[in-house]
Symmetry: C2
Subunit: 240 residues, 2 copies
DNA sequence: TATAATTTGTTATATAATTCACAATTATAC
DNA sequence: GTATAATTGTGAATTATATAACAAATTATA
């Protein structure tokens, strides 16, 4: 229904808007948001359309109420608790970032196999044995799980999460999880991402070298990085 | 030219193929790879097309030579060194994962502002002062940078990386970096991703609840999770 | 109050990614 | 050797996503 990318961008918009609100700005226009995030104004307006929220022509959007509208859309009416399985280096980093950072959403429990870790508290989160997943998930009424363990156990933990009630999984393991159609999975494959960046870094470098061989010609000004863009056009959709 | 998603999947294919090769299997078919990664066989074939590699009808792909073909495409002919800026929780996790893991690609230097960290070695990586970025990047001939620092310094570090010669950036900060068109950036925004998973977890849950109100009807069998699919169709493109 | 200037909301268009569908190819069975 | 079965490679169709284009709306200004 609503594009995944739009949901992700709404989260970005909210973060920017909160910053802007803190700076005392009360309204913002689509091209301003677009400029900050390096996307097109039309994209911003299109995304905001999904909220059912309306701005004011010639003025823009009211920052405060747009934040509220995004929050109403993105957030649960009640507290949402996530669980994390795997308190290794990455799990620890996630706990440091996500435990108690927002009001509406936080990691509330951690799990590990290592007896050294079970029972201890990491960044405000108690670490339980993985066997306790069903019990704790039930108590927290959690539907969000994070997997930060090695490949070999990932699918097993995933299955256990799902039978326990988890319906959205953020998976950092390199395994592509098999889930029923009523469970959402986001794969964050750091190795693959790293390799992709390395590949395109080389591509970019080659491109640059080839270009520098050519005589200096007019730059293509596709993304506003070019300084030759007329000032009056900077604030507009290129098409208008 | 080549789709970003294809590059990322090629990395996945290689990892699966290496596993499969280690298990002694010498050939593999598109539907097998597809089944492991939960994608469509046509997607696998299309991706492999970009390599210029050819399989054998009725047999599949030779595992060994497909790995070689992917490596030839993805990897640099020489060693590639990446640098990491920000040795916090996340940076440390990345070092643990990526320093010296592959032959062709690894993090070779870390940077931080904290005098406590500068000069120390983390997971085999020396930590330098951020001021040394230009010097070290030059010495390593690195074109890949990882940003794992807070928002406020991200753009400044990004600019410094680029003037030092970095052409591909893996950015974990919540800032959308402004870069010239000859630099590739991959944004991994963990907060936004987390919020997205939370959102779709709720969506899934609602969907499930609505469905359970309806009388039990035929399941739609879109992804092979359904047990009612005929066995002989499991190994085929649905269309054939 | 009328006119000009600007920005939104949204439809239409363009671009990109995925999936289908089937001809071409190869192996195997007879 | 021929027929049969299976799988690849790829043009065409579909789906998803992003961008352009412009009418409608609102404010500022004369």
């Amino acid at each position: 229904m609503i594009p995944e990318n739009t949901v992700e961008r709404l989260s970005l918009y909210r973060r920017v808007l909160q910053q802007i609100w803190a700076e005392g700005k009360e309204t913002i226009m689509s091209h301003e948001l677009a400029q900050i995030l390096h996307i097109k104004p039309a994209q911003v307006r299109r995304d905001i359309m999904y909220l059912g929220y309306s701005g004011i022509p010639n003025i823009g959007y009211k920052v405060k109420s747009l934040i509220e509208s995004i929050s109403q859309f993105l957030d649960s009416t009640s507290q949402q608790s996530a669980i994390l399985v795997g308190v290794g280096h990455l799990g620890m980093a996630l706990l440091a970032n996500f435990s108690g950072r927002w009001r509406q959403l936080a990691i509330r429990a951690a799990f590990d196999r290592d007896p050294e870790k079970i029972g201890r508290v990491f960044h405000g989160c108690v670490c339980y044995s993985v066997e306790d997943i069903p019990k704790v998930v039930g108590e927290l009424k959690s539907i969000i799980g994070i997997i930060a363990i090695p490949a070999d156990q990932a699918q097993k933990i995933c299955d256990l999460m799902i039978t326990s009630g988890i319906r959205g999984i953020l998976n950092f393991s390199p395994v592509r999880l098999k889930v029923p159609e009523y469970v959402y999975v986001e794969h964050v494959d750091l190795s693959a991402t790293f390799e992709k960046v390395a590949f395109f870094a080389r591509t970019m470098k080659k491109l640059e070298e080839e270009k520098s061989k050519l005589p200096p010609i007019l730059e293509n000004c596709s993304d506003g990085y070019n300084q030759n863009v007329k000032e009056e056009n900077l604030r507009k959709d290129v098409s208008v």
